[in-house]
Symmetry: D3
Subunit: 171 residues, 6 copies
């Protein structure tokens, strides 16, 4: 039977031993969405941000956060990430911005948490920069989309009814 690997036989938390796991190429992709007022999305997309600062800053914050993951998540192993990329996809039709983070490393443990951290902090930075005009923004559907590498092998989200991503127009 499966069990929570972060707890030992006594039910106590530990940082699990990955010393005997193979060093493999590992990739994780995570996504999430922030819902906002239409005029907030307009402000981000047009007028007040001709230098692209809002989306650009959010991406930078997400990249930097990925590097801090082991500092934030108690039982997460420190990892030397070899790649972090953040994409932001505005969706005017639903007044939202989607975020996708791709993280890679060559190591003994995966980078799922790093990708999820990057998504969360990217979205929260968008919130921070727009909160003076729209405090009701909601961050939602933050989840792992796929991961490759490692003993547990590849994994893909089954794409539930919870969400219909429509990522046609990357920006």
């Amino acid at each position: 039977m499966k069990k929570l690997s972060h707890l030992n036989e006594s039910g106590e938390a530990h940082m699990v031993d990955v010393g005997n796991k193979a060093i493999t190429q590992r990739v994780a992709i995570a996504e999430g969405r922030i819902l906002m007022q239409p005029q907030t999305l307009n402000m981000i997309n047009e007028g007040h941000h001709k230098k692209g600062d809002v989306l650009g800053i959010a991406r930078i914050a997400g990249i930097m956060a990925a590097k801090k993951t082991a500092d934030l998540i108690p039982l997460c192993h420190p990892l030397a990430l070899t790649r972090v990329a953040i994409e932001l996809f505005p969706h005017p039709e639903i007044s939202a911005i989607d975020c996708r983070a791709t993280v890679e490393t060559k190591g003994q443990t995966g980078v799922e948490i790093e990708a999820l951290t990057a998504v969360q902090i990217t979205l929260l930075t968008l919130y921070d920069m727009c909160k003076s005009v729209d405090r009701g923004m909601t961050m939602t559907d933050i989840r792992l989309v796929e991961k490759t590498g490692g003993k547990s092998g590849d994994w893909k989200s089954r794409g539930t009814a919870r969400r219909t991503p429509t990522h046609e127009k990357p920006k």
Copy 2:
């Protein structure tokens, strides 16, 4: 007309001047939810965690993350938080755990972002501790619920149809 306060007249980002804002008592409450498989919630609630580690660790991670907010969010002001509390509410009927973070300070700027950071990292720590049994968990409906204090005054979420919180049984 409202504008994004983090951008100056040239559209460049800056950490806005709060030096002339009044020092007031400020409170922010944020919430969020993580959806999981029923058996994952069972594992958290029963059997494998007789010492409460999973929920307890997630709370600690959220509290510590609130203190790191200014380090994570580029234009966020550093603040000396005077209180951080994290509550977790398991919802077996929808196979989810809700998180509510309350953050307070006496300062020149609000603690909304700190409360949202605490919610995000609490939920992500739950994800991290359970990912070996349920990689498809989704974090959702992360939003500000209310804030008090400061020049912009009090604010409450309008409770949209997006979510019906049922927080009867705190654990």
Copy 3:
């Protein structure tokens, strides 16, 4: 004749070159003790902590601190730890709690300092959580117990008269 490796020929500090050392499996175990009032130990063990929070939080703090070692100790090399485990052993007969930290990595330098950092911060977190009832708690006998791996080979503490650990009842 032996010398302090952190000082160069001019007596100046540097982070010593480990680039030519072999990558080996390295383990370090450190221990320490916190002495307290009997009623403080009672409060931790019984009544007020039915969810195990005090010991659990201290363990988490120690694990997280192990990951911050290179940030705290000036000449310590950054290392990707592969395992951190913290055990706490209450000793009602001497009104103390003992802490043992085990840290592992596969790298070019050892993890003794990481294990000692973990012990110190675990004990200090116990102090912090109980200081409102017992400010006189004392942290003592913090030392390396054994280390394996690396050029200098294995090492074991000679178990001096300074201390008689009685770790029969792990909790």
Copy 4:
């Protein structure tokens, strides 16, 4: 009856609300000792350290660690320290170095934990710098000596039999 203030009524950990506590001048003094081989103390005191690096670096590490306390100790409030001083007292007669840290702030909560963190990391930095010649060094008797300010008032250690500090010759 006294209770552990870091746990709420449900026994869950939180960062306690200090928002209503008075802002007062607060001072804390902590001490600790590291025992070593006589020749290790000689190496520190003479020969290899004509520029005072070993003790000087340990002091710097302790000062910097005091500033990181809230990052290390989960439920500790962030505080803007106004003073940190570290003194080191070599004791050739017992082959030890004593450390005393004095920390001050003007704030709503005390600086005991900051002073203890400073002592621990100062001693551990001494260990780190000398471990190549003496792995058996032991850090001991780390404790609060006195604190002033705050609602709970002044407090002094009762100077138990555990330790006879002999701080005649500051260096």
Copy 5:
């Protein structure tokens, strides 16, 4: 006679006591310059950066670094900054970019070091982003331009022959 305030009477470093200094409004402005190949400046200004990322990212890095100053500079007091602004001024005529950082706080000690940290990390981020095309870039003339507030009063750089700033065209 003046002396180095970071050293006590024994010549040992400490974090100086600012507890009795008045809380005043404090501003510091620092500047610096990075010299590069003309084609590097062209790449930054035109073509490859239509979204302004290079200058925007450097500004963000400088703002975030200002918040980390007390973590980087050993004897620097932690401060709650109330404002950080970074301006970048390309100078095609000398193939350079100038950086000016303005930092403010209301506190017991000044923000000169925070402003200088912001300039240094802004310039270094420009270097990092362009190093693949121009490894010979040089950062130069990094200095305090003026500071106001505090017991030592206002101070202005005497504008030496070392540098003739020509900041006509902010970008």
Copy 6:
């Protein structure tokens, strides 16, 4: 044609993929200078610093900063440094102190930025420690001197007219 590797085809910043680069031994050497009043250099060299604290502390700050580079520079990869050495060369004839940092790793990307960070923070720590007597100190000529290892091969600064380093008397 060369381009800025930190921007992707859309001109968006990312942390570039180094996963396929060879693991090689990499060394980077950077230098910089701080200009000061003659009496400031005298104070550092004589009288008030008989324990060498000023230069020693600056070196430690530079070493610790090198380890924080990936935390400071947004798109910099985290790296496990294997060596950091900082040398300081006082130049009474021009009333300056030169700094040289040597950083090494065995990894997939270079350590140029780490060496430059070390130089900057070493110089800024000198500024911080002496600012009470000389606010006009200027940090200048901070640049990469040479780097070896990696796909782009070895590189040496062409020693331009910008600077005539005279490093005869290391201290």
